[in-house]
């Protein structure tokens, strides 16, 4: 899901994000962002239905400050969600009746996840009980038996052929139809990167967006070629098969 290298490089959030020095959690012991979130809620002894989003969001961010990059994407997604909620909670409420709690979806997911955790607890007790019973340790080797005569006919084979064909994912072309090329979107992403004056060049993969599909790759590629043709950027490849590097056109930078 998170193929490293394709998504824009994400630096892990640093301790600067509202870290509480007295607050230490061992992230390895959590199975994911929801697990961590549940732990924080339990620590704070708050009601799941009425989460103090601002406080919890800050704690979540400080907790993931120590994250390794390979896990980062899953936790960062949740961090982003919490920050968005934090902002939404600060908005003035129209009236109590009309107000739709923006936390609703998060609460639903937390409850669903808690249910999974309860089942996990039940599984663990079952497995623990089962592990107290040992099967026979020595299993005699299976006897050497003459081969069983085999029956096979053409109809069986052709039925299998049909099953295989039925199971083949739709050809690529068909799947492209509902998601046409989005060269404009890709152009906007590239222009945003070019607008960042701090960097003279960047890897073209940064322009792909999160979780790129083949279509995204093609769109980005076409946009790059178009922008290069218009003289807005230079493309170059340091070595065969290496990633393309995008460089702002110096004329544009001066502009």
């Amino acid at each position: 899901m998170t193929s490293p290298g394709t998504s824009a490089p994400q630096s892990p959030p640093t301790a600067a994000l509202g870290a509480d020095p007295g607050f230490v959690v061992q992230l390895d012991s959590f199975t994911g962002p929801l697990d961590l979130l549940l732990h924080l809620l339990r620590e704070e002894q708050v009601d799941i239905a009425d989460i103090p989003i601002a406080r919890i969001a800050d704690q979540f961010l400080s907790a993931i400050g120590q994250l390794g990059l390979n896990q980062a994407a899953d936790y960062l997604e949740m961090a982003g969600r919490l920050l968005r909620l934090k902002a939404q909670m600060l908005l003035p409420r129209p009236s109590d009746e009309d107000w739709e709690d923006p936390r609703h979806e998060l609460v639903r997911r937390l409850l669903e996840y808690q249910q999974i955790k309860e089942i996990v607890g039940w599984f663990e007790r079952c497995a623990e009980r089962r592990a107290l019973q040992y099967p026979r340790g020595y299993i005699p080797p299976p006897p050497e038996l003459p081969p069983v005569p085999l029956t096979l006919d053409l109809l069986q084979l052709l039925e299998a052929v049909q099953r295989v064909i039925d199971g083949i994912p739709e050809p690529v072309l068909h799947r492209v139809v509902p998601r046409p090329l989005d060269v404009e979107g890709a152009t906007a992403r590239i222009e945003a990167l070019l607008a960042d004056g701090a960097r003279a060049e960047f890897n073209w993969r940064e322009a792909l967006g999160p979780r790129p599909t083949i279509v995204d790759v093609l769109s980005t590629f076409l946009a790059l070629l178009e922008l290069a043709k218009r003289g807005l950027l230079h493309l170059h490849q340091p070595a065969p098969f290496a990633d393309m590097v995008i460089r702002r056109d110096t004329a544009l930078a001066a502009h």
């Binding site: 199975t31 669903e112 999974i116 309860e118 089942i119 039940w122 079952c126 099967p135």
Partner: protein, 197 residues
Amino acid sequence: MTPLSQLIEAALFSANRPLTVEELQTLDAEATLADVRTALDQLREHYDFDQHAVELVELAGGWQILTRPAFAQAIEQAQFAQRTPRLTGAALETLAIISYRQPVGRAEIEEIRGVAAGGVLRALQERGLIEVVGRSEQLGRPLLYGTTPLFLELLGLKDLAELPRAEELTIALQPPRPAEPEAEAGADAAASVPSES
């Protein structure tokens, strides 16, 4: 011990997994399924009555001879046999989701856990605890997963119907699909599910 109980005992001693009543029936061409069940009962009672250290356990749709829990500590201390390695938290959560929602695709699992699931799914498949049971009709025809008999064996369950029902859990969230106890129907059920939604 009747001749059939003896045959069954010998077969169960020679197998490294639970054997079904149907498999045990092949031991004796004359025996009916009812005969096999009677002989299994006799064997179980015999082990209990004579206070053997082993017992006959119904497991994953079949029968297996296992040591009684009371002797676990002695076996472990003497290190004559090894305990099955424990599953990680991630693996257990994934199994929990699959066991209740099978047939289920990777995207749904990832949505519930909030974590990428590719590695865990592969590990569970390699351990033989889950298997591909079909393909979804949805875009890209993603693979659908279900649990295997080995999963039931690991937890010591007779069948999926032994899983706690949603109403029995403290968090009373109804899963979108109720747990289907028919493990065998996996592949066929997988193909028919999308038409329901």
